[in-house]
């Protein structure tokens, strides 16, 4: 049984008509109802549980190259019409006349969640938090602090536009993470592991939770022996999984059509050119069911897709939303996303990953005489116009004589996107993905990144050791 529509179709039609009443080429209504809940266990105490609810609608009107936008938490017809009129204010010429909007049947997409978070007993969630704490502490007495967090969100939205799109989705996301602090002679070190998916409570199996707890604890304990990282240009082996953030930052953002069309990307005008090592095939894929960046439809109602961005080193395409694709007379690639009804959609990534190669992961390390092995990467940042990026290593080791040796203290890597893509000289077969949060122009959306173990011939390591 599907839930009742957030707003009736006849009301949506009238709101779209009102939005275009002063002229305008395109109008859209986005109605959203999101419930979230979070719980945090810190030092074995359940801190405040929190629940939240946000409901509202955003209306946009496009006139030529200008977009007008307004949002409201008032979902009555009166509230929606007021937002439509505010958004229509950009249609300054006025006198658009009456344009009749007739929507077809609502296209409703089901959730990927087997167990809705709202149906789970809160006591059960807390049991899970405590269990993770037990497991983490059992890794050793050096673990002095454990923080376990659980958050879930159920997001129902309805999107309709003047071109006949009329769709709704029901997105459920669950996220669990463990942070451990270990104390040793040289101070404190932290370890972190997430479990997340566009799924319900079913992803939080005992095994998954235990693995995260153990992983975070071991990472913190291992880092107690960490030495300052070297500084300078060194070969880097990225372990499968979290290294995908490098490609998200190093080139993903530069392949978003909004930056490209403003000629504010180093990748503008380079389709068909060799921009990376032939070992690089980069894909953005919203269809990976259940992954953190999974979408049935994007926030403009367009079904998500698997888009090949770079194939064997050659740039094949960019990522597109409605507005940018219209300018180029092509179809959207299903990358129009927004943080909430209070935000305008823009081009965003979904699950971005590098296809696996043919090398053996252990062999790649064995064939690296000296360098840095990055077991986990943290967040990063890029300037799309110059391609310069930076990201943090949250778990890294030295490679000496083909062996992973001393753990290194946290530090940043820095590089240039177009440059680093050419430095990929080996890609293994042990592909995996990691959940993340991507921020752009003040909006955050969940994304996945992935890759197999791989080597870069040289990256600048921002450590303090000579």
């Amino acid at each position: 049984m599907s839930a009742p529509a957030l707003v009736e179709s006849s009301v949506v039609e009238r709101v779209l008509e009102s939005a275009l009443s002063r002229g305008g080429d395109f109008a859209e209504v986005f109605v959203e109802d999101r419930s979230t809940s979070s719980a945090m266990l810190d030092q074995r105490k359940v801190e405040e549980l929190s629940s939240g609810r946000d409901r509202g609608a955003g209306v946009r009107v496009v006139v030529g190259d200008t977009t007008g936008f307004a949002h409201t938490a008032d979902l009555s017809e009166k509230g929606l019409l007021a937002a439509a009129q505010a958004a229509a204010a950009v249609a300054r010429e006025g006198g658009g006349g009456v344009r009749e909007i007739a929507l077809s049947t609502l296209r409703d997409y089901p959730t990927t969640a087997a167990i809705e978070p709202g149906d789970v007993d809160k006591a059960k969630k807390i049991e899970l938090l405590l269990h993770a704490d037990d497991v983490a502490r059992s890794e050793g007495s050096a673990i002095t602090q454990v923080q376990v967090g659980l958050g879930d969100s159920t997001r129902r939205f309805l999107v309709a536009n003047s071109e006949g799109v009329f769709a709704s989705d029901h997105q459920v996301r669950t996220r669990f993470n463990v942070i451990c602090v270990a104390l040793g002679d040289t101070g404190m070190q932290t370890g972190y592991r997430p479990v997340a998916g566009t799924r319900g409570f079913e992803i939080l199996t005992n095994e998954a939770v235990e693995e995260a707890a153990r992983g975070a604890a071991r990472q913190a304990i291992t880092k107690l022996d960490a030495r300052p990282a070297p500084s300078g240009d060194l070969p880097v082996v990225l372990a499968g999984g979290s290294g995908g953030i490098l490609f998200h930052e190093a080139c993903g953002h530069g392949l978003e059509a909004d930056a490209v069309l403003k000629d504010a990307s180093v990748y503008a005008g380079k389709v068909g050119e060799l921009v990376a090592s032939p070992l690089v095939t980069l894909v953005d894929d919203g269809t990976v069911r259940g992954e953190w960046g999974y979408l049935a439809i994007d926030d403009e109602g367009r079904p998500s897709a698997r888009n090949v961005l770079i194939k064997d080193g050659v740039l094949t395409d960019y990522m597109w939303d409605y507005l940018r694709s219209q300018k180029e007379g092509r179809a959207s690639s299903g990358n129009g996303r927004r943080q909430s009804y209070q935000h305008l959609p823009m081009v965003r990534m979904t699950n971005t990953y590098l296809l696996e190669g043919t090398s053996d992961a252990d062999e790649i390390v064995a064939q690296t005489p000296y360098g840095v092995y990055v077991a986990q990467l943290g967040g990063g940042q890029v300037n799309t116009a110059t391609g310069d990026f930076v990201f943090g290593m949250t778990s890294a080791f030295l490679i000496e004589d083909g062996k992973i040796t001393t753990p290194l203290r946290d530090c940043n890597l820095i590089g240039n996107g177009p440059d680093i893509l050419k430095k990929v000289d080996a890609v293994a077969t042990d592909f995996s993905m990691t959940p993340g949060t991507c921020g752009k122009d003040g909006q955050s959306v969940p994304v996945g990144t992935g890759q197999a173990t791989m080597r870069l011939t040289g990256v600048t390591i921002g450590g303090t050791a000579a």
């Binding site: 609810r53 977009t67 602090q145 209070q342």
Partner: protein, 451 residues
Amino acid sequence: MSELLEQALQILERAKGDEHIEVYVSSGTDTEVQAYQGEIEKLSTASSSGIGIRVLTNTPTGARVGSAWVGSLDENAIAETLEQARDNVRFASEDEFIAFATPDGVSSVPMELRTDEVATTPLDDKISWAIELERLVRSGDTRIRQVDSANYSDYDVAAAVASTNGVRATYARSGAHISVEAIASDGKSDQTGWGLSVARSPRDLDLAKASAEAIRRSTRRLGATKPASMKCTVVFDPRSAATLFSVLGSALSGESVVRGRSFFADRVGEEVAMAGFTLLDDPTDARHFAASQFDGEGLACRRNVLIENGVLKGFVYDTVAGRRAGTVSTGSAVRGGISGSPTAGCRALQAVPGEYSQKELLAKVGNGLYVESMSGVHSGVNPISGDFSVGVNGLMIRDGELAEPVREITVASTLQRMLLDILYVGSDVEWLPGASAGQSLAIANIAVSGT
């Protein structure tokens, strides 16, 4: 009485038995204009409101707390939210330190942080400023190849906090902001630079300053190269220094300290910084854009000295962190809007200015690196261990003057060392949006990683 406070008080009346309730309610409007190629690219106007409710029940050995929020002031939504918060209480652990703030007799410093001008300035003026800002940058230098976005934004918000403990506080704040990102090109490669201006009233925004800043920052980086790795003195510009102070601020939060997540823990009274360095959190200084009369729990904000002449004096606390530390709130609860619960944090940091202008300070330094933008701060700085490693752009300092531009480098040290290695604090204070003001800051012995 403000309408919001009245609304909050009505909810308090629903407290049952020995239940305690705290309500935070806010309402505001905002406008955003983005200009591109002489036209409006985006125009967004919105008003939003919401409420965050916390419910606390006392237990034999302490208290439990639960919370819920909703992005609406609709009566049904509020009733549902109160029920959710009550339900959440049942699952929280008992904690002897959990409590709501109690009025502490400190009166707030009167300040006017809101002006009607955000509401009364015609939308057409706001639009014309965004368009003019873009034009100034495009026409200001032939090397400007593109203006990615030229933005105007403003807000006008009011909020109230009230609790069954007797807290009654109302806030009102307005602000306007312009920002522009320029892309400069020398035909071979591109460089970018941001310019901005912030004010409480839109009428006080400085288009000339913001455009000149974007042009200067982008063009002077043209031809940047990657230098060899070295150890040298680094001069952080006011914006970068403000970021640095904010990072220090998170380690000076009493919350981090009582949880053993700060490298400052147990060091009060020790010399932690260069003798001339004084850092304070002062939301009662109206020059700071983050100034506020009340904190996130509704207690009066006050001036807190954190580091004085190099000696660690103390931390900022909210009610709960203060109790854990065996002290009281310093009026330093911060909360992330309706959905966030209060926690201890710095709100309006500033370092006491030194005697040198930036020019004098560069002359004193002689040779080194001048940093004018940092990236990867959220991933490369660890307030627990103090490890510091960020990507930077900037210029070399040679013979006391700014020289050739450099890029794709990192600077690294530990926050502990950096504080002790401070050489000079500039007199060129810049009031910026965010939790800290900044001024030029010279720090010795920093590892610069290049080729």
